[in-house]
Symmetry: C2
Subunit: 351 residues, 2 copies
């Protein structure tokens, strides 16, 4: 009889057992001299378990090296223990900006402490977005952290329909269905910085703004205008196409060309500011002597520039904390409200 002949029905159970990974609850129960139910109770920390039973079960678990099969558990509880961290951003520029990395790390850590896993998902293309939706509908994840940089994100409209709890990081879309969001106070931070530059004696302020469909491009520019009012000429505003060093350099050059008399510039992100600093240096302008430069984010790079960057601190780990708290509340059936976290000024040497 060849090896691959069908096994006799009677032996199938044994064959299955042979290939299975580890001991089951039944094995633990047997060894501990109790029933499945009791093992389940000690596992889930329920009361009404005698201390002897509990001890016996724990010892049996130790001896067998038992570890619960999450799939079986999820099948009945309908919760996977995982959270999707969805990044809706064109994939090529990702992680160039340390802000995202910091957020991701904090969330992973926080979620881990809650015994939950983080699934990273990209949502730059339509195909990827479909995958996220499919994932959410399939019960793979208990909730979604949507890190959406741009307004009008299609996912922001589609995700709520899946019924999975979602919390948005950044600004929630104004028109879409109401989802709680967590954000830093971009506008307030921009006001802080602009006022500070003024206080330091700046007379002719300019700004490098981010793309208009992002918080950095809209809110931070709005904050700048809040303080300056009508006083700001159009040529004092340059738009960066994206949040990269290259773009910052280009925008600063444009400013230098169109508004050469500027004596201070508020740059909408630290990474952009690195580029701005380079352009300024190349143009022979000294920072902060000739031009004051203020950034935004207080990302890791801010203290490493020359000169070190005065910037607006986004409380990223706090944002991460609120993000997971809000999501967990949502999953728990509560209806948490959105939160906007205060930003603060970090003084270094560039202004």
């Amino acid at each position: 009889m060849p090896d691959d002949a069908p096994v006799h029905p009677k032996s199938r159970g044994a064959a299955r057992r042979a290939l299975r990974r580890g001991p089951t609850m039944e094995d633990v129960a047997e060894l501990a001299g109790v029933s499945r139910g009791t093992v389940s109770r000690v596992l889930n920390g329920a009361m009404h378990v005698s201390s002897e039973s509990r001890a016996a079960v724990q010892e049996a678990m130790r001896q067998t090296g038992y570890v619960v099969n999450q799939n079986a558990r999820s099948l009945v509880t309908r919760s996977s223990g995982a959270i999707a961290f969805v990044l809706s951003e064109p994939p090529d520029r990702l992680f160039e900006d340390p802000v995202l990395g910091t957020l991701l790390r904090s969330c992973t850590q926080l979620l881990g402490e809650q015994g939950r896993g983080l699934m990273l998902m990209l949502a730059g293309t339509a195909e990827e977005r479909e995958r996220v939706l499919h994932f959410a509908r399939g019960g793979h994840v208990d909730g979604v952290l949507l890190v959406s940089m741009h307004d009008g994100d299609p996912l922001a409209a589609e995700l709520p329909a899946t019924g999975v709890p979602v919390v948005v990081c950044g600004r929630a879309p104004a028109d879409g269905p109401a989802m709680p969001y967590v954000a830093a106070d971009d506008r307030g931070g921009a006001r802080l910085m602009t006022q500070y530059l003024l206080d330091r004696g700046a007379q002719r302020l300019a700004t490098v703004a981010g793309p208009p469909d992002t918080a950095g491009g809209a809110e931070r520019l709005a904050g700048f205008r809040d303080v300056l009012g009508r006083r700001v000429p159009a040529r004092a505003i340059a738009r960066a196409e994206a949040y990269g060093i290259e773009e910052g350099r280009a925008a600063m050059s444009q400013l230098l060309h169109g508004y050469p008399e500027l004596d201070a510039v508020f740059v909408a992100s630290d990474l952009l500011a690195v580029g701005a600093l380079q352009a300024l240096h190349a143009a022979g302008r000294k920072v902060p002597e000739d031009v004051l430069v203020g950034g935004f984010d207080d990302s890791a790079i801010a203290s490493a520039t020359m000169p070190p960057l005065t910037t607006v601190r986004q409380p990223l780990s706090q944002v991460a904390g609120e993000l997971v708290e809000v999501l967990l509340q949502l999953i728990g059936g509560r209806r948490p409200s959105s939160r906007v976290l205060p930003t603060s000024l970090v003084r270094r040497e560039s202004a």
Copy 2:
């Protein structure tokens, strides 16, 4: 009768049905006029399904909006469809270096295309490491991508015992159990750069090396020595404590102090090189006129420094590709061998 009174046994099935997320295979089968088995077959792309049945099932799935319950499937197939991306690094410095972000993004993308998810896990603390192990044993993931920067990583020793396929990114531990690994040719790249600096006329080469328990600290330094042999004095070598801008600046200052006559420096990572460039600038040395500077990684920042950095390119997306390919082969029961990918020189302006 209060709302929370126990439901009548007869109605329990209905109650369950009410709270369940979506239609099941049974519903689809009924609507399509076939059986569960046939639905399963079209789902899993098996043959022996008539085209009418297939069409009927597909139409029924469309109508009901059916999406397979991954937990139920995983329970029987014993595979979760997810891969753990484990970062064994002290959490505070994470993602400062864009290299990791790039790797993470590529892997997420590649895995996504395979219909697999990526779970991000930190393994900086003992507790986190325990969580990773537990996760692996619990069948949460089908495989692990261990991104280990330092030698002697405890996980590298413990993970194989879980029976879960593992592939290491970077160097595999020499003494541990044999696990396939994927790495860039650090040593070869360092040789390339060192030779290039020599060819450009450098006479007194120095190097900023990374921590000795990392590939960047050991292999890249070895490559440097391969080319220079005995000619390199001890004071021409500075160790950075970690791969940060700050550390690069410190190491370069040290070099400048102990070996002021240097006319070229090979820096073991781009981020370190940013700091080195700053120290050089602060010391009034012009790059590349007075000192040639070569980096390593070709990360996003390399083209944004002043002057743009000549560096050694790590084929990161290719590394990611091999990483998932090797892991998938491992999961498929094959025994792939380790791979070392060639590095190449990228000439910009710093050397």
